[in-house]
């Protein structure tokens, strides 16, 4: 478990704060890191100096990638908890005292055993990787279709058939009809001059063409903006009531 030359030292204190650049790629998890620390410190796994190891652990994980941090922080919390438990007075019944480190030791041993299997697998995998099997040649999914046997007259007949069945494309002439907002404003003004209150349906008849409806709407909004009239609708989809604005009349 040696640190690669490219990875920054976990002890580096010159890492600018606010950046998380150090990746603990050399460790595959918190237990791996812990095991490495125990080896480096050359301490007995059954009698871990928990305060020292916890301190080292925290030092190493100070800068972490965010997505890895949780797993390591959980272990750090665990270590600190064990450290705290170790400080508690053991009481009289030393017999019943259970070492708070016992669970951790069990996990470390289990992890260590797994690492041995990893070594075996790694070796076996490397051995297999160094041999090639016959290359896999993917089969073409479907057999190639037989070449077309076709005479010129057959081809021309087919073209003719297709041309016959194809209808001439339908062409529509689209005439642009401009929206007549000033005209609509004139109409509304004339109506409001006759009476103070008008309904939308008075101005726009049911069979009005879309451009008339649009012109009237835009004209109405323009007039409302200018303060020439008030537009009210008591509830959604109800008839719109238009009243000439007394303020503008006064002016």
């Amino acid at each position: 478990m040696t640190e690669t030359a490219t990875s920054p030292s976990p002890y580096a204190s010159d890492v600018p704060s606010g950046s998380f650049v150090v990746e603990l790629t050399e460790f595959s998890g918190p237990l791996d890191l812990l095991l490495t620390l125990i080896r480096e410190e050359q301490v007995d796994i059954y009698d871990i100096p928990i305060a020292r190891v916890a301190e080292q652990f925290l030092l190493r994980i100070r800068t972490l990638q965010l997505n890895e941090a949780a797993d390591y922080l959980e272990m750090a919390a665990r270590l600190l908890r064990i450290k705290a438990l170790m400080l508690l007075p053991r009481g009289d019944g030393a017999e019943s005292w259970e070492d708070p480190r016992a669970e951790l030791v069990r996990r470390l041993l289990e992890y260590q055993q797994m690492r041995e299997v990893v070594d075996v697998l790694e070796k076996a995998g490397e051995e297999r990787r160094s041999r090639f099997a016959r290359a896999y040649l993917p089969q073409s999914a479907a057999p190639a279709e037989a070449p077309l046997a076709l005479s010129l007259s057959e081809l021309l007949a087919a073209v003719d058939r297709i041309l016959r069945t194809t209808k001439a494309p339908a062409v529509h002439d689209v005439i642009a009809r401009s929206v007549d907002v000033p005209g609509a404003i004139t109409t509304i003004r004339a109506l409001l001059a006759l009476r103070a209150r008008a309904m939308w349906t008075d101005i726009v008849t049911k069979d009005a063409e879309p451009w008339v409806v649009l012109s009237t709407l835009l004209g109405l909004l323009e007039m409302a903006k200018l303060g020439e009239c008030k537009v009210q609708q008591p509830r959604p989809f109800a008839n719109v009531e238009i009243t000439s604005d007394p303020a503008s009349e006064a002016a």
């Binding site: 998890g29 470390l108 160094s130």
Partner: protein, 180 residues
């Protein structure tokens, strides 16, 4: 070489994957089990004794002709074939646990490895090294994973028993526990 050995050689050469012994036996209905085994032995010896660039290897209960390790670099340099990508440490740890304790759920793996393993399981599953082999009893009936024939193939193992038994694993840190 005997005709049977030649037949097996041809079949093994034609296949890109290891051929299980029973499928080799199907090549010649008249050949007995012992005859197949003898022919395989003959073929392997033929490659070893005469000095061939390939060898016959038993993998995952089947047989496969593989190139000898000493030629790998030259073959790769010439870009005739390339080695598969190495598995990451995280992937190997997860595989090791599944190989020994299958069927095994995600929670148990995470408990032992001390990290979340969701993405590792996904990629191992995609590579065909593990598969879902059942569901656990606990809450949410978790998926249980086991290793596949491709796992044996990847590590060139004859069978799972070829891995060291758990009690054979010499735990390097194991010392007599001191009285606490």
């Amino acid at each position: 070489m005997t005709p049977l050995a030649k037949l097996l050689e041809a079949a093994l050469f034609a296949s890109a994957r290891p051929i299980p012994t029973e499928e080799l036996a199907a090549l010649d209905a008249e050949a007995s089990k012992a005859a197949i085994a003898a022919a395989l032995d003959e073929l392997r010896e033929h490659y070893d004794v005469d000095g061939h660039g390939v060898e016959l290897i038993e993998i995952g209960g089947g047989w496969q002709i593989l190139t000898r390790a000493e030629y790998t670099e030259a073959i790769e340099r010439a870009q005739l074939a390339s080695r598969p990508a190495r598995l990451s440490a995280a992937a190997l740890e997860t595989l090791a646990l599944i190989a020994y304790r299958q069927p095994l759920g995600r929670a148990e793996i995470e408990e032992i490895r001390g990290v979340s393993v969701g993405s590792v399981l996904k990629s191992l599953h995609e590579r065909g090294l593990i598969d879902v082999v059942g569901r656990g009893e606990g809450m949410g009936r978790p998926l249980l994973y086991g290793t596949t024939p491709i796992f044996l193939e990847y590590f060139a193992l004859r069978h799972l028993e070829e891995l060291p038994r758990s009690d054979e694993l010499a735990v390097a840190l194991r010392t007599e526990p001191k009285p606490l």
